[in-house]
């Protein structure tokens, strides 16, 4: 069950896998995610977005970055291996409508979950502009796929090694000033999403963000994924994962993400030792 049928390494830290998971492939809509667990009593449950699917073949695509223990262990799985536990699709699908002009902003690994959304926005008849940003050239992912949706795709890197040397918020602001989008979608690291929301706010452009909080069950049972939206507590796994970026209490969300930072650093280190990976390498 859940056999890996394709694996690619896109950068030192980014991997893509196609996994046989027919039920999830059949039900999945853009914006939804899965919870994955590598089996046994001791593995953790982590959320990953379904970046693509093939209903015929019954496969889903995940794209992930190695950040801690589980993503590192996952990166070591190969074609033919089974992923013991996959639950999904979870969360509400993205609200896809004909809004008119939609600007889609993806940062780092966030480009992967953005892809099915941009695709669906286009299919719904929207005029779609895409901005993708990364720290450096070899972390830019899915350029061709994104270009097939928006031939004028904007690429920015922090160090200027590819595309424009800028943060995604710079072209985003320009689009707000000159192109007047009706809606923005921003997916990426929480800090990036926060600043995208701050950028669009003065222009009154509704900005959808996909929150990547810490999760356990993904079914609404634990409340660990909760965030404060417009002063109300919401569960990202059942009420989200997408919310109005202008309503999110970003400081609370960011500090909650860091809940286990000290312990995880230790974990990450130990995981590297166990796997014989030199520190600083994925």
């Amino acid at each position: 069950m859940n056999r890996i049928v394709k694996k690619e390494q896109w950068s030192p830290e980014v991997f893509s896998m196609d996994i046989e998971c027919p039920l999830v492939a059949r039900q999945h809509k853009a914006g939804q995610f899965i919870i994955l667990q590598l089996g046994g009593d001791f593995n953790e449950r982590i959320p990953l977005t379904v970046a693509d699917k093939d209903v015929e073949k019954g496969t889903i695509t995940i794209v992930f970055q190695t950040v801690g223990a589980t993503t590192h262990l996952l990166a070591r799985k190969n074609v033919g291996d089974d992923i013991p536990n996959i639950l999904g699709p979870l969360g509400h699908p993205t609200d896809i409508e004909k809004f008119g002009k939609v600007v889609c902003v993806g940062g780092g690994i966030g480009v992967a979950p953005l892809y099915p959304i941009a695709q669906a926005m286009k299919a719904a008849g929207n005029d779609v502009k895409i901005i993708i940003g990364a720290r450096t050239k070899n972390l830019v992912i899915m350029e061709d796929k994104m270009r097939s949706i928006d031939p004028d795709l904007t690429i920015v890197t922090d160090d200027g090694s590819y595309g424009r040397k800028a943060l995604v918020t710079v072209p985003l602001k320009e689009f707000c000033e000159n192109w007047h989008p009706d809606e923005a979608v921003a997916i990426g690291p929480p800090v990036m999403m926060k600043f995208c929301a701050l950028t669009t706010q003065p222009f009154g452009v509704k900005t959808v963000v996909s929150l990547n909080t810490i999760m356990i069950d993904g079914t609404g049972m634990c409340g660990g994924c909760r965030v404060s939206i417009g002063g109300q507590t919401k569960f990202v796994c059942v009420d989200g994962p997408e919310f109005d970026g202008h309503q999110v209490d970003w400081n609370n969300m960011l500090s909650r993400l860091g809940t286990f930072k000290p312990q995880e650093a230790e974990e990450h280190h130990r995981c590297h030792l166990d796997l014989g990976i030199p520190e600083g390498k994925a």
């Binding site: 999904g88 699709p89 069950d217 609404g220 049972m221 409340g223 909760r226 965030v227 400081n251 286990f260």
Partner: protein
């Protein structure tokens, strides 16, 4: 407690059945052997160690075998208590097991977690005659003994499955309600598929109730029994998302569905600061420890929560479990903060006693006003308000009334909300035609437990609100009976 030799003598005499009722009344209550508090707070192993055979025989012999057996009325599934207890008294554990099995499918579990002092043991004649419920026959403990003795001998009754009926039934969830329903539906010869959202079956029995109260291997063996009966167990399947209830019936051809999706929606504190770092729902706290094994940091990848001073809000079993787990995870000071007084604590007496022995502090008649944090968004403490007890509320308990101006800051680095669970909204969200009450509980026919959708039945916490294992199990069986009738007419 009697010495082993004395117990031998009493047991020998009992086997010959030469005691008069008066003599029986004088047989001392058998205390449950437990791990010493200072030892057990450093491990996750079961606290109560279980009776020895002689203790069980002696305890069973305290039962007077009352003709009107008031204890049975107190048991939600009406176990023939004097019947099984008399088998124990004569040393016939198999006989006892088969009597219990007629009514209860989960004696090893209910014997451990039933709130006996409010159920069977509350009505026991022996307790009444001693004018002390604590002196009642230890029915739950005996039930546990019988179940444990049977499994120690490798004796397992796998119920017989009737000839295939050709009907296909879905059971949603794998908690006690669903386990019971699945077993009875399978026995009748239907093909049964159990769908569980988590990666492991058992519901609250695996993710909520800690190992030190209910060893997980017991739950695993109950799930294993279902598999041996031929129930298909599909984990990682969230009904509503992986497939809707409608699709199960219309596209997958299920002839009937039992929903036992439980009360898995944690209530949060509802005060400012409830989302600060270090504030957890008891569900999250306990799931990390129980299901994800974070208490074993040498192996588990899910990080454990490291705390010094912990406040647990609530007064039920969930609060006791969270507080006692916190101690075992290494907290130096754990305080249970409860709005009412000690008399109103809804937790099982035994658990409250165990918590106290382990050094859990209690702060009664206090309620949270605000959780406060530092500039990094981490909890620094809670402002509490004192309460006085007012008039009894709908539940018959006196409700707490906060005293204005009594606010005071208390320092804590971890806060756990154990103030109850609402019903899991996912099925309702994805199947709007199912009728629920204002609390989100499914509305069912009292007799058949059928919901507003024909062919869909429900039981356990999703119907009762957060209740008990035995009630959930009882409803699972009640629904299965009605479903078997429904299916035979289909």
């Amino acid at each position: 407690m009697k010495s082993a030799k004395e117990l031998d003598e009493i047991a020998a005499k009992l086997r010959k059945n030469s005691y008069t009722p008066k003599e029986r009344m004088a047989i001392p209550l058998q205390e449950m052997p437990v791990q010493a508090p200072e030892v057990r707070i450093h491990n996750m192993d079961e606290v109560a160690l279980g009776f020895s055979e002689n203790q069980a025989i002696v305890e069973a012999s305290r039962c007077l075998g009352c003709k009107n057996h008031p204890c049975v009325e107190g048991c939600p599934v009406r176990i023939d208590i004097p019947g099984f207890v008399s088998h124990v008294a004569s040393g016939d554990m198999k006989g006892a097991y088969s009597v219990i099995s007629q009514s209860s499918l989960l004696p090893a579990i209910c014997g451990r977690v039933c709130p006996q002092e409010n159920q069977c043991q509350k009505f026991c004649t022996v307790g009444k005659m001693h004018k002390d419920i604590e002196q009642s026959v230890g029915i739950g403990r005996l039930e546990r003994y019988v179940a444990d003795a049977m499994s120690a001998q490798g004796y397992e009754i796998i119920p017989e499955v009737a000839a295939a009926t050709g009907k296909k039934v879905a059971v949603v969830g794998s908690g006690p309600a669903s386990i019971a329903a699945a077993a009875d539906l399978r026995k009748a010869g239907h093909e049964v598929f159990m769908f569980e959202a988590l990666h492991k079956g058992g519901g609250v029995l695996v993710y909520g109730i800690p190992e030190f109260r209910l060893p997980k291997k017991i739950v695993a063996s109950e799930i294993g029994k279902l598999e041996k009966m031929g129930v298909h167990i599909q984990t990682n399947f969230l009904v509503g998302r992986t497939m809707t209830l409608d699709a199960l019936m219309k596209e997958e051809g299920f002839d009937a569905v039992f929903v036992g999706s439980g009360a898995g929606l944690p209530k949060l504190l509802g005060v400012p600061g409830e989302n600060l770092v270090g504030v957890f729902s008891a569900n999250e706290y306990l799931t990390r420890s129980n299901l994800m094994h974070s208490y074993d940091p040498d192996h588990a990848l899910t990080p454990a929560i490291k705390s010094e001073k912990v406040a647990v809000f609530g007064g039920g079993n969930v609060a006791m479990d969270a507080a006692r787990t916190a101690l075992r995870l290494g907290a130096s000071e754990v305080t249970i903060v409860y709005r009412r007084s000690e008399n109103e604590l809804p937790a099982r007496h035994e658990e409250v006693g165990h918590a106290k022995e382990e050094g859990v502090h209690f702060l009664f008649l206090h309620a949270p006003v605000e959780v406060q944090g530092d500039d990094k968004g981490r909890v620094t403490g809670v402002v509490l308000q004192t309460c006085v007890l007012g008039e009894p509320d709908a539940s018959g308990r006196r409700s707490p009334v906060p005293v204005e101006g009594s606010e005071k800051f208390y320092q804590f680095d971890t806060v756990i909300a154990a103030i109850g669970n609402g019903s899991n909204p996912l099925i309702k969200m994805t199947t709007p035609q199912i009728e629920t009450n204002r609390r989100g509980n499914f509305i069912v026919n009292e007799e058949t437990l059928e919901t507003s959708i024909p062919g869909v039945f429900a039981g356990g916490d999703i119907v009762l609100g957060a209740a008990t294992v035995i009630l959930a199990m009882g409803q699972g069986r009640q629904a299965a009976k009605a479903m078997n009738e429904y299916l035979s007419g289909k």
